[in-house]
Assembly symmetry: C2
Amino acid sequence: MSSKTFLAASLAVFCGTVALRSDEGMWLYNDPPRERVCAKYGFELTDAWLEHLQKSSVRFNSGGSGSFVSEDGLVLSNHHVGADALQKVSSAQKNYLRDGFYARSQAEEIPCVDLELNVLQSIVDVTARVNAAVTEGMSPDDAVKARRRVMAVIEKESLDATGLRSDVVTLYQGGAYHLYRFKKYTDVRLVFAPEQQVAFFGGDPDNFEYPRYDLDICLFRAYENGKPVKAPHFLKWSQKGAAEGELTFVSGHPGRTERLLTVAELEYLRDRQYPIALAYLKRREVLLRSWSERSAENARRAKDELFGIQNSRKARDGGHAGLYDPALMESKRQQEKALRVKFAANPAFSAAAGAYDRIREAQMKIARDERLHRLLELGHAFQSELFDIAHILVRAADEYPKADGERLREFAEAGRASMELGLFSDKPIHDDLEILNLSDSLTYLSEQLGAENPIVQKVLAGKSPRIRAAELIQGSRLRSVDERRRLYQGGAAAVAASNDPLILVAKSVDAEAREVRQRIEAQAEIKKQAHAAIAAARFALEGKGQYPDATFTLRLSYGVVKGYTSGGKAVPATTSLGGIFERSAEMEGRPPFDLPERWLKKRRSINAAVPFNFVSTHDIIGGNSGSPVVNRDGEFVGIIFDGNIESLVLGFAYEETQARALSVHSAGILEALRSVYAAKPLVDELVTGRRK
Amino acid sequence: MSSKTFLAASLAVFCGTVALRSDEGMWLYNDPPRERVCAKYGFELTDAWLEHLQKSSVRFNSGGSGSFVSEDGLVLSNHHVGADALQKVSSAQKNYLRDGFYARSQAEEIPCVDLELNVLQSIVDVTARVNAAVTEGMSPDDAVKARRRVMAVIEKESLDATGLRSDVVTLYQGGAYHLYRFKKYTDVRLVFAPEQQVAFFGGDPDNFEYPRYDLDICLFRAYENGKPVKAPHFLKWSQKGAAEGELTFVSGHPGRTERLLTVAELEYLRDRQYPIALAYLKRREVLLRSWSERSAENARRAKDELFGIQNSRKARDGGHAGLYDPALMESKRQQEKALRVKFAANPAFSAAAGAYDRIREAQMKIARDERLHRLLELGHAFQSELFDIAHILVRAADEYPKADGERLREFAEAGRASMELGLFSDKPIHDDLEILNLSDSLTYLSEQLGAENPIVQKVLAGKSPRIRAAELIQGSRLRSVDERRRLYQGGAAAVAASNDPLILVAKSVDAEAREVRQRIEAQAEIKKQAHAAIAAARFALEGKGQYPDATFTLRLSYGVVKGYTSGGKAVPATTSLGGIFERSAEMEGRPPFDLPERWLKKRRSINAAVPFNFVSTHDIIGGNSGSPVVNRDGEFVGIIFDGNIESLVLGFAYEETQARALSVHSAGILEALRSVYAAKPLVDELVTGRRK
């Protein structure tokens, strides 16, 4: 104890006198937070330590993170990251997603369909070369094209030279360009998955909440040439796992943050965009939920949509609450003020100095159109799958005759096949749900624009929303895939000749929808350019020592295992395996709090005291799912699987009073594999780092 | 068949040539719709027929309707009308409300606590005498007092002369005054109630919906001098019951309608008040619901509030959808236009002629304050029981020192005891629910007024809503009843000295809350006077032949048993007893679709084909619950227990395309009593009209 204190103290001296800061940051591996970590925790991030963690980290191209956990190519990620792969290897007879899977021998491991894993090998700064492609006097459009071109050349050269997947990544909104080279694994096989019940125990009610009791893991094995790969780097498994207050690191692929939003944009989100979006989501949630309760069949029909709505609502409610933190907003204000002073002081940054006002003005213009844009272009006024089909048909007839580059984005030639796949899908469309949704959204349209508005009057045609919705849905022939095909192939002439009521409505609002979209996109482009100017100036001023917004590339976060206070109650850092039984009993075992048969049977064999899930202060976001949590020794102590509801503000700013990353504990995973799944070979492989 | 057709045809000739109208109207018994019924259905409402139905009809002073169904004083109403009485005779050992009750002998009948039944004996028009009390030049205030005085005199005289309960009823917003004399029964005993499960089968999900399968009945017996009364009038039971398309009548006590609202008021409700209220209800519903799902204890704590919110939300959603019916709005517009032309043509109606504009102006002023009024005065910004207590304490200190007449309504001396009962109640207050509610409502406050608003800044004190809510709730000492008593008894001085955080917040917003309330009430008074002017003019012009807005006095409605179309689907008029088992199975027997043990056991004995519930076109509203439905022969064919969701517009206007009254069928009641409850004596009494 005293020697540890001494060590920390001496290292702190060694590290210099940098002020203690928060655990903020999703750091680049080629610009790691050495000084910060050293100053705050007295720990040195050596090159060897970093390389080992980098090369043990795995990116799932399906969206998510993972890590090698044995030299025989065993890769650990979340059950929800593996869900897509599990679904694809399941059949009518074998539902591995729901029921879980365990390959007791190598022969039983199941090859996944189209799952690609990437392991980052190296990073090269290619900023100068990319920027050199842009010559003075180029129009912005040409500059974009020139940059794209040189990036493609760099990627091609690198691939040819190394055989590695090579991506040029845009960082700091264009402030820097780095070439990332990945080793690619495409033969990936399924080794183990628990039952979805226990992987996502607590379902939607406990989603984004804590305490939690989820075994959200899934194990794969990477193969090459038909054999398990010998992984040059993998994480040693810590049987003890993470302890409270312990410094740990998260290595993973955060997807997207917007930490550079200006105060004007954040206020806009807080005061307008989020309230409108949330009221709309809550309205739809109540609608679908009360309808679902009226019959099991209704519930089945609305299930996916309802879950999606609840998930978004929860995520946004959390983010919105975060934006109401005055400390957060004040720090953004101070930061912005300081930057503006610096920009104003240097003529080289004149574009950046004016950018804040340009953003504010653009935001005000967007504000004027936001409501109409949501209604007409995002379809909030027309919640109906048949209407969506009608609108696509109307637009396809207009768009496809144009040159590829002139079309609306979603009609680009590259996306045509998948667009047609959706358009001609014969997935069932339920008239009752269609009428319910359309009826409510037409009412919403009237409420939002006022009953006397010409668009409303045109759409409702003198009828009440519920009568009109029934008439439109029942009168449409678009539930026939043949009819869709006929209109699609017939193009503009066929669409013009159609008297399908939904086609007529879609046509009647399309001009207004296009106009409002165009206005919004023009302002978004102004904002984008202003942001690029700020980012470039900021990068020039601050350069290294900052971290860029998340880009689904490998990042390093540091932090500690730590509880927090929510709603005035202390929330402890760690839960234990026994807690899942208590939680299930508390909820009377009703779904989604029911436990798999196997867990119920093995209850007595499980050591209830073993840690199960824990929270930590790491700076994470969506895409970090499956990221390994490692200790100072680089050992695996846990796996990220969620954030608490307070962490949903992390898209805008780091916060460490309440925002927490959620992980499954390494000791809990071992205990479950051992006591519930009797997966001794797997346990041995994890503990020893190799297959027997 | 042909003779019936002939009879109808000949009667139609006899009835004259009045155009066929809808089944609209909640008609006065002393001004019944003789011509309309005769013209449309060829049926003559004779004095004897009317008197029999009137004197068989019963008013429940707890709010609801009923009827005598045997000469031995048996009174039938709804289970939900009887719920209060059932609750009051229940104990920890015997939960009659939940489990039902059946007195197999007279001795077993249980005397109800404070239940009063009224039977209307006579109606006398006293308009002239009431109006004579108001002399020229009286101020409006004095006029109100003079009217109240003469009404009290008339009531007293009548009571002394007849011994009957005598109430002067204000009709047509003051257009007419009628003296209603009631025979009163105060010894009322409980005879039969089914289980709540089957009385309110389908619970909230099926509330206001159809098809339904509810045995929403409760039987009482009226006693006098310790013996069952010999009822001079009672309804003969039709074993066949109501058939589709059959003309029937409803005799009951509709509580309140607002059919005279002007177009400006209706548009305001549709475009502003309802959308704001509904968004707020849905927000609260989602909040409490997702919290409830996190634990059984949460669910228990939020249950009553959540049910109340869902019930209001459903009712308002239904009413709101009704207001979107362009036909309804257009007919209101036409009606208003026609009246305004008539008023303008006659100088005697000048007050009425200008009234529409006065209402519109007042409505516009209310619109400006509506949001703030809801937030501060209706408490939408401060959803917390502890805050409510704080606000009452702050106001009580200000109000009680004033003269009785000068105080805010809720602090009138007459209500003081019940106010104190609430204030000093030791019912549990849950901190977690308090923080959840307050945190969300403070966020709502910020959203509605904007984060920069001075009220918001004052209330939040530089904290985020969730931090502030926790701090306020945890810092308050008002959960102690003693502390409340201390502040209440200490009056202004004690409240001024208190540094309880909730008292401080309540004080800080009280001035603004009072001001906005005063502004709203001033405009409401202007509207009330304008409505009285319109009603008086209208009554002078149209006089008899119209029906007044509902006033919880006996009214007659007519209509037919008839299905409808909803969401494009045909909804048949009648369900059958077998349907309840199918519905329960469809919902996998989960509450509120579970069936009582008794029903499950007796399933095979029940004739599944017997009609259970039915819908009809009668013009009803809350208060009609328990009203008998009778056929041309004055026989009991059903009992009203609900309206469908489309009927929720009936507060504003009659509608008969989709709006329907819901009843329990007389045949279904008999079959259930016979086959499920083995209540032969009761069945015999209903069938023969007397006890054996």
